[in-house]
Symmetry: C2
Subunit: 237 residues, 2 copies
DNA sequence: AGGGTGTTTCGGTGGCAACCGAAGCATCCA
DNA sequence: TGGATGCTTCGGTTGCCACCGAAACACCCT
């Protein structure tokens, strides 16, 4: 198959509303069953099955059999990044937004959500802002670095930045990248450090997943930690 | 329109072989006429017109009228980055490649090409390798920085790295990002510095565009400069 | 004005793919 | 072993869309 055709195949797969629903639901990195995905996409199980078979064949999702369930997950971080980049174009930075009808569910998503393996939404942007303001991270349009002060800060909340790049020598500090947030229209942090921060936040109960969505809530403990350790200012403070 | 539907719309537009051909041809950042795009996509002008109208309406391409020609270009760098990320997924890093039938035209593309605004292909990867090997750039999976030695090197070939981040203060060195090369399967450089390098290379005649494609050739002068200033080793040396 | 070229609009056709109902497998449980 | 549940395969229908020929439109040149 030619390069062009293969490209079109992938994009076309991502171009169906039902499949978009499924892929979107998988964007938090978890593995979901076929019926769960059928539900989020609002199609019957048969139809979902076809979609999933196609996406699996094309290498967009991976399937894992477990008893009578079949768990599906995104095949690779590259797929998640592709979704992000399409979302970015779809959010049309250049045009005025036509009355974004945001339901309550949407509001939670905009407030805080996982973006495959890191934090996004208002929370994600606030964290990035605080880290930059505190001199712990330096961000440009294209890349980001963790400063020495940042290494110390992450160490204080239990994240060993240097461990991520063992053996890489000098690149120890080059561990994050900006990721344009589709709801906030500003950069939040992605990359190894951001992944670690997200993972640790879930482990420590600083944030909690809202069942069935990518949205998360910040717990009271989380607010304290994010405020005191990182300097995030939440609404009203 | 809901977020999901808009996402699907964009991806579906990118999911047609003819449109892929056109978008691909626009990936070097130039603006092409409708008939040129019809030719590269192997469709009649009427069909191309429809495709272009749709893509323009969706915000994928921008149209500029000039006399009886209509020049089309990618609407934004975000679109180019979306294309790149889809290409990456389409190249399937995880599977064995099924006999990549590479014609001579493909060979030129693989050797050296522009990737929207920077250099890719064998040349792009060789440049990135040389810069990393020389300690001028540090790259990780997610980000890259130009070292002090790198700032000096770019200065010697007429690129003032510090000028790119005027007013940004500390982020002066954070100016590049890795971009996985679909033909080489390794990272080349993207970002502001890479853009400047590409632009300057064209200006100074170190590389020359091959008419009608994204491919470029390295001139004798270019070989000398890339070798002596940056330390790139070309085949046979 | 008139011919030539680049581009779009219109109408019609063909093919593909998303969808569902029904039936068939696979797996777990009693 | 029989029945429930999760999932897939099959067959048939429907609707959409890519495509082209023909014709109209826009612009340039002489």
């Amino acid at each position: 198959m030619s390069t062009n055709a293969r490209f079109a195949e992938i994009a076309a797969l991502a171009g169906d509303p039902a499949r978009v629903g499924m892929l979107h639901a998988l964007m938090d990195g978890r593995a979901l069953t076929a019926s769960e995905l059928a539900r989020v996409a609002s199609v019957t199980p048969q139809t979902a099955s076809e979609h999933l078979a196609k996406m699996a064949a094309a290498g967009l999702v991976q399937v894992e059999k477990q008893g009578r369930h079949r768990y599906h997950r995104l095949a690779s971080p590259a797929v998640a990044q592709m979704m992000e980049s399409i979302m970015l174009v779809a959010s049309r930075l250049d045009t005025v937004r036509p009355a974004p009808v945001t339901g309550p569910r949407d509001a939670a998503l905009r407030a805080a959500r996982t973006c495959y393996d890191h934090l996004a939404g208002h929370l994600g942007v606030a964290l990035a802002d605080a880290l930059v303001a505190g001199g712990h991270v330096e961000l440009s349009h294209d890349a980001g670095v963790v400063t020495d002060a940042g290494v110390a800060l992450f160490g204080r909340i239990g994240i060993d930045v240097t461990s991520f790049s063992a053996g890489r020598g000098k690149t120890a500090r080059v561990l994050c990248r900006p990721c344009l947030d589709w709801s906030e229209r500003r950069s939040h942090l992605a990359g190894a450090v951001a992944t670690a921060l997200c993972t640790r936040s879930l482990e420590e109960g600083w944030i909690r997943r809202i069942e069935g969505t990518r949205a998360v809530t910040v717990t009271a403990k989380g607010q304290r930690v994010f405020c005191e350790a990182i300097g995030v200012r939440f609404g009203g403070q």
